[in-house]
Subunit: 206 residues, 3 copies
C-alpha cells in the first residue's frame, strides 16, 4: 500500500510540475500557477470519481493530494529555469505518471462495477483529463489531441492490460504496476523514435 501511495504522489507531483511550468510560460502569477498545478494533477482523478459516483472525490479526502501540487508550484516559481532544463527527465516521469494513472484509474472503475470498455475509458480520462483541463484553462488546444507523439495510446495500453488481468481474476499492486510499465514503455519508445499517429487522409503532413 505504501509503495502504491508513494507512486501516486510522484505522479501527482510530475503532473503538477507540468501545470506550473505552463503557468510560468503564460506569465500567470503565483496563485494562477498553483491553481493550474492543482487542476493538472487532480483534474483527471476528480473526473473519474464524478463519473463512477465516488463522491467526494479522493482528491477531496486526502491532504497529500492538495499539498503536493502546491510544493510543485513553489519549486516552479523559484527555480523554473532549472526545471525547464530538466524537462527531458520530467517527461520521463510524466510518462510514468501517465501509465500509472491509467492503470489505477481503470482498476478503480472496474471495482466500482463498470464494464470493461467503459472502465478503460475512465482509466484513460484519469490519465489525460488533468492535462486537457490544464491546456483548456491556459487557452490552448489540448496537447493530447495532437496525439502524434502518442500519448493517449500508451494510456489505453495500460488500461487494456489492467482490464484483461481483472477479467482473468487477477489484480493487486504488482499487476497494476506491470500494466503501468507497459504504457510507460510504449510512451518512452514513441518519444525516442518519434512515433506518430496519422492525420486524416489527404491532409499534408506538417
Amino acid at each position: 500500500m505504501i509503495a502504491s501511495a508513494v507512486l501516486d504522489l510522484v505522479g501527482i507531483f510530475v503532473f503538477a510540475i507540468s501545470g506550473a511550468l505552463l503557468g510560468v510560460r503564460k506569465r500567470l502569477d503565483v496563485v494562477g500557477m498553483a491553481v493550474l498545478a492543482e487542476i493538472t494533477a487532480l483534474g483527471g482523478g476528480i473526473l473519474r470519481d464524478l463519473v463512477i459516483g465516488a463522491v467526494p472525490p479522493a482528491a477531496f479526502t486526502d491532504i497529500g493530494y492538495v499539498v503536493v501540487p502546491l510544493i510543485a508550484a513553489g519549486i516552479a516559481f523559484f527555480w523554473h529555469p532549472h526545471v525547464t532544463r530538466l524537462m527531458p527527465a520530467v517527461l520521463v516521469f510524466d510518462a510514468a505518471g501517465l501509465g500509472l494513472f491509467a492503470a489505477s484509474g481503470t482498476l478503480k472503475a472496474l471495482t466500482f462495477g463498470l464494464g470493461p470498455v467503459h472502465a478503460m475509458i475512465v482509466g484513460v480520462c484519469t490519465a489525460v483529463g488533468g492535462g486537457i483541463l490544464r491546456d483548456v484553462l491556459a487557452g490552448e488546444v489540448p496537447n493530447v489531441l495532437y496525439d502524434r507523439q502518442l500519448y493517449i495510446l500508451p494510456a489505453l495500453l495500460s488500461a487494456v492490460a489492467v482490464t484483461i488481468a481483472f477479467r482473468l481474476g487477477a489484480y493487486g499492486f504488482p499487476l497494476t504496476l506491470g500494466a503501468a510499465l507497459l504504457g510507460f514503455a510504449l510512451r518512452l519508445a514513441a518519444m525516442r523514435y518519434g512515433w506518430r499517429a496519422p492525420i486524416a487522409r489527404g491532409l499534408d503532413k506538417t
Copy 2:
C-alpha cells in the same frame, strides 16, 4: 424501445461526425479525432446524468454509445472530403439530433424528479453540451453562443413541449418524438430562412 434506441444512436453518430470533422479542420491526428467525436456525441448526456445524479452516466453503461463515435471518426478519417460535401445533409441530421436529445434529456430529468424549469435546462444542456465541449476543446468560442442561426431556441422548444405534455400526464415515445420534431422543424426553418437572434442594442450588426 427499438425505434428510440436507433434514433438515439443516429443522433450520437451525427454529433460525432461534427466532432470528427472539426478535428480534421484543426489537423488533429486520428486519436484526437476519436476523442473529439466521443466528447461531442456523449458530453451532453454525461453532463445531464452527472447533474441529475444518474451515475455512472448512460454513456458508461452501454457499449453502443462508445463504438458509434469511433465509427464516425473512422469515416471522417478516410472520407472527410466526401463527408464535407454532404454537410448540408449532415446539418439536417444534426437538427434532428438536437430536437431528439433535448426532448429525451428533458424527459429523463423529469422522471428523476426535477422541476419543470430545471428539467428544460437539463434537456437543453443534453442537446448542446457536447457541441460546447467540442468547441472549447478545439480552442473556439462555442458556436451555439452565437445562436444567431437559432440553435438553443429549437432545443428549448422541444424541451418545453415535453414538459407541458409531462405535466398533463402524457409521455411515451410518440410524444417525445413529436416534441423532437417541433424543435427539428424550427431549426430547419431557421436555417432555411436565415432567422437570427438579436445582438445587444446599439451594436452594429455584422
Copy 3:
C-alpha cells in the same frame, strides 16, 4: 434565512451581469448572453454540489437561481452602455459576491463532512468557478489565473475564516457574513491599492 437568500441572489445577479457584459463585448446574441450569464452565476455552485455529492445541485431545485441571471442578461441587452459606465460599482458588488460565495460554499462543504482543507478548496471553487467557466467559454484565459489584482486570495481568506469558526464550534448566518466581509474588504483594498501577487522569479514584470 431571508437575509441569507437575498444576499445569495444579489451575488448571483452580479456574477450574471459580468457574464452578460462579456457576452456583449464578444458580440454574442441574446441567447448566448443568457447562457453566459447563467453559467457565470451558477457554475461555481454546480461544481461545488457535484463534488460534495449534493445532486441535483441547488441551482436545479430553486427557480430564483435560474430567473435572476435571465433578468441580468435582459438588463445588459438593453442598457449595456449604462451598465458598463456603472462598472466600478459592479466590481464592488462582485467583490461582495466573491466573499459571500466563498464563505457559504465552504460552510456547505463542511456540513457535508469534508475536511477543513478540502472544504476551503470547495469554497474557493464556488466563488471563482463560474468566472473561470465564463472566460473559458468566451475563449479567454481565465481572469482569475492572472490573480495579480488578488481575486482568489480574498476568497481563500473568507474560506479560512469560516473553517476556523466552524472548527471552534461556531457557525450561523452572522458568522458567515463576517467571514464574507473579510474577503470583501481584502478584495476592495487590493483594487484600491493595486496589490498584486508576484509572477515567477526572473520574468520581467509587465
